[in-house]
Symmetry: C2
Subunit: 304 residues, 2 copies
């Protein structure tokens, strides 16, 4: 059991892509700078997707350049395909994640790609990365989305997840991750799937989870996973972006609440929570009226 848990802030990508309004580039930069200054070790700054599809993230290359200028910060991006990976490498991202939906129905609906087509893209990206000098290669993660169930297909069989996890590693990923895209995950399922995937691909090749709080179990799912070798958790400041399936329900785990739980459970995050709570103002000022979530921000820290 590691005592250090790496929090990956995904608000600038997963949060902002769920909001119609576009946050100005200057505000995004200020957000990233401020959150890195609080000690957040990794930030997913955007996604290299066609600007027509997600104009909210059209400035991802500029954000990668900005984030790279911050000492010690790991700069992560999402890419849907080889083209996106080329852009990410050109921009200089430290970490590239490609999402592969365990539900093929969801994959077809979302990116119009079968599992085979997606795995071909993964292999192409891995091959591209291998052509780079060793010290310029980004870390390459295959993120299995809808891993805990799908709004279209319902339960996704565990055998399918294991098959895809194995295929992602075979195709050249450095690691796989599990994403609860639909907010279906419950603690027992998290534990059993983490164990099964680790047994399939190797203990060290699954360390990260991307969980949502759609049904209020986000933090409990994290808590359950911590005993099973999970050391990287995605979260979003203020749960920004909410939940597309349930207006008013939080989507991503709230970074502030996650830090509070980890701090109080004896884990190290390296993050200054009081400073982090103040970063919310940057987001609120840039997107006035946008709902921000979180219990600790509302209630404040307990009196010691």
């Amino acid at each position: 059991m590691s005592s250090f848990i790496e929090i990956s802030e995904v608000g600038p990508r997963d949060g902002l892509q769920s909001i119609k309004r576009i946050m100005p580039l200057a505000a995004k930069k200020a957000w990233i700078t401020a959150e890195a200054a609080c000690g957040v070790p990794e930030i997913e700054v955007g996604s290299f997707v066609p600007k027509k599809l997600l104009p909210q993230l059209a400035d991802t290359a500029e954000l990668v350049a900005h984030a790279r200028s911050i000492s010690g910060l790991k700069v992560a991006v999402l890419v849907p395909n080889l083209r996106g990976a080329q852009d990410a490498i050109k921009a200089g991202a430290h970490k590239i994640t490609i999402p592969l939906s365990a539900s093929e129905t969801h994959s077809l609906a979302n990116v119009n790609r079968t599992h085979v087509q997606m795995l071909t893209a993964v292999r192409d990206i891995a091959d591209l990365i291998k052509t780079l000098p060793a010290d310029e290669r980004p870390f390459f993660e295959g993120g299995i989305s809808t891993a805990f169930g799908c709004t279209l297909e319902g339960t996704v069989p565990q055998a399918k997840i294991l098959e895809l996890a194995s295929a992602l590693m075979d195709a050249g990923c450095d690691e796989v991750g599990l994403s609860d895209t639909t907010g279906y995950a419950v603690p027992n399922h998290v534990v059993s799937l983490v164990k099964a995937v680790k047994a399939e691909v190797g203990e060290q090749n699954l360390t990260g989870l991307h969980l949502h709080n759609t049904r209020g179990l986000g933090l409990t799912n994290v808590y359950a996973a911590l005993d099973h070798g999970i050391t990287t958790i995605d979260a979003s400041l203020g749960g920004i972006g909410g939940c597309p399936f349930a207006p008013g329900a939080s989507g991503n785990i709230v970074t502030e609440d996650l830090v509070f739980m980890l701090d109080s459970t004896g884990y190290e995050t390296g993050i200054d929570l009081e400073a982090l709570l103040k970063v919310r103002d940057i987001v609120t000022d840039a997107l006035p009226g946008e709902l921000m979530y979180g219990f600790v921000p509302d209630a404040g820290l307990p009196k010691l």
Copy 2:
């Protein structure tokens, strides 16, 4: 580890006492009837306190009578003193809980009583109960409030909690409970305090927790406690009443979310969650505009 977890609905007491408006008696009865029909095994229907202090709960005696007419339902009430216990016994409550604040500062501020004065009341109530025929005696719980910290005193030393737990049992309680009145509890603290109190008063004499969700850790705290012999959890439908310390932050654990977590974690509650979700309408209709909380109610149940 028991596989059955008893959920005690405390909304009609803890929820409604936090709301200025008074829910009409007929609506309260309908709520209790409907929730019992979903399989909720225990409902705390009110509190025997002076009507001037909590006019919202002035009809508690009538609610006890109503709830007792529902077959199989355990009817619980809160009492602050001997006078309240006399009323509760007269009304026919199955379970009586007296709160004792671990923080003496909080006890003085709230009920103007020292620990010694409260323990005297506990002993008087226990003596009164002993005068009843065996089959008419209510179950008598001593609920240690601010057990996980106090907004006035901060951290309450564990030695103080153990001393009070022991004193409550000595004074004649059938069981002690722990309440996170201020929403300060975190998983590690829950586990360590549950273990310590059980070691002090006996494994079977602490089975229930009353946790709040003020800082978003309500369900995680429950999850952590389930492995340590806790089998009764208080919760409030829709988290009604909110949190007095943080407007907008949920106070009590939301019953619907708790049932969802327990169901999905392999525990039995005997509660029909789909039916329970419909009971919210009774509360909403009776208190229009009052905030109702809960993630599962917003997001719906996952597709299987």
